[in-house]
Amino acid sequence: MSSESRLEENELIRRAKKGEFAAFEELVNMTEGKIYNHLLRLVNNPSDAEELLQETYLSAYKNISSFKGNSTFSTWIYRIATNHAFMLFRKRKPELPIDELPLPTHEELKRREIRDWDFDPADAAQSGEVREILSEAIGELPENYRAVVLLRDIEGFSTAEAAEALGINEGAVKTRLHRARIFLREILSSHFAPEELAAMEGK
């Protein structure tokens, strides 16, 4: 973010804190597109995403006085949006599994005859069929892992920004990201390298 737009943002926040709705609405205009996309990917359902979007910004309006400017306004909104999405997940599935996703062992990699995929990922990602596979795989991730992958690998957040947006520390971002990527790799491999032997049974 340029220092100029940062100044403009600070000015809008200052006015919004005084209760000026037009200034708040301007902040909504600046962020709503990204937040809508994020929520849609996270909950995978347009009507839930729409409702969460409304709750997110209402909550931001009510709590704007607690925004201290330690992060950008946008990161702060991501955090509110993610919190609301997780409240919805817990409401629907109170027994949210907290199992850690597994890492493979070295022996397992040798036994499974892991092999490389013979395509260029940038080209492959243009195919509609591949995109479908990618998004289904994301949908199979446990929600707290899904949120990390979305921010880091799809939305381009740094480790520090993702930590800020999720309210967890950077170490937890790295651990979850790594395990999530391995989980996704497994699903993708079953499509792209079906001759690879399956992961250890009994996991």
Binding site: L58, H106, W117, H178, R185
Partner: protein, 85 residues
């Protein structure tokens, strides 16, 4: 070197940081050395890299549908005003 040699387990734990270039150079050298003669690890790392790359390049944004946007702004105008009263 200031630390012990990485075990195979530690190498597998650090692959994402390696891919993201977040490891210090001496650890990277050690991983490179291991990869030098371990084809399964090489294939695993390459497919992990491709997984990341696929997701990096697949994230197209949809425009927020205009009815969704209209409803959001109507909702906020109404509810934020109630807040003020």
């Amino acid at each position: 070197m200031a630390y012990d040699k990485l075990s195979c387990k530690e190498i597998l734990e650090k692959l994402s940081e390696y891919i993201d270039e977040e490891l210090d150079p001496s650890m990277c050298d050690e991983i490179d050395e291991h990869m030098g003669d371990c084809p399964p690890c090489v294939a695993f790392m390459n497919t992990l890299k491709k997984t990341v790359k696929l997701y990096n390049t697949s994230g197209d944004e949809v425009d927020i549908p205009s009815p969704v946007r209209t409803k959001l702004h109507d909702f906020l105008r109404r509810r934020c005003n109630e807040e003020k009263e």
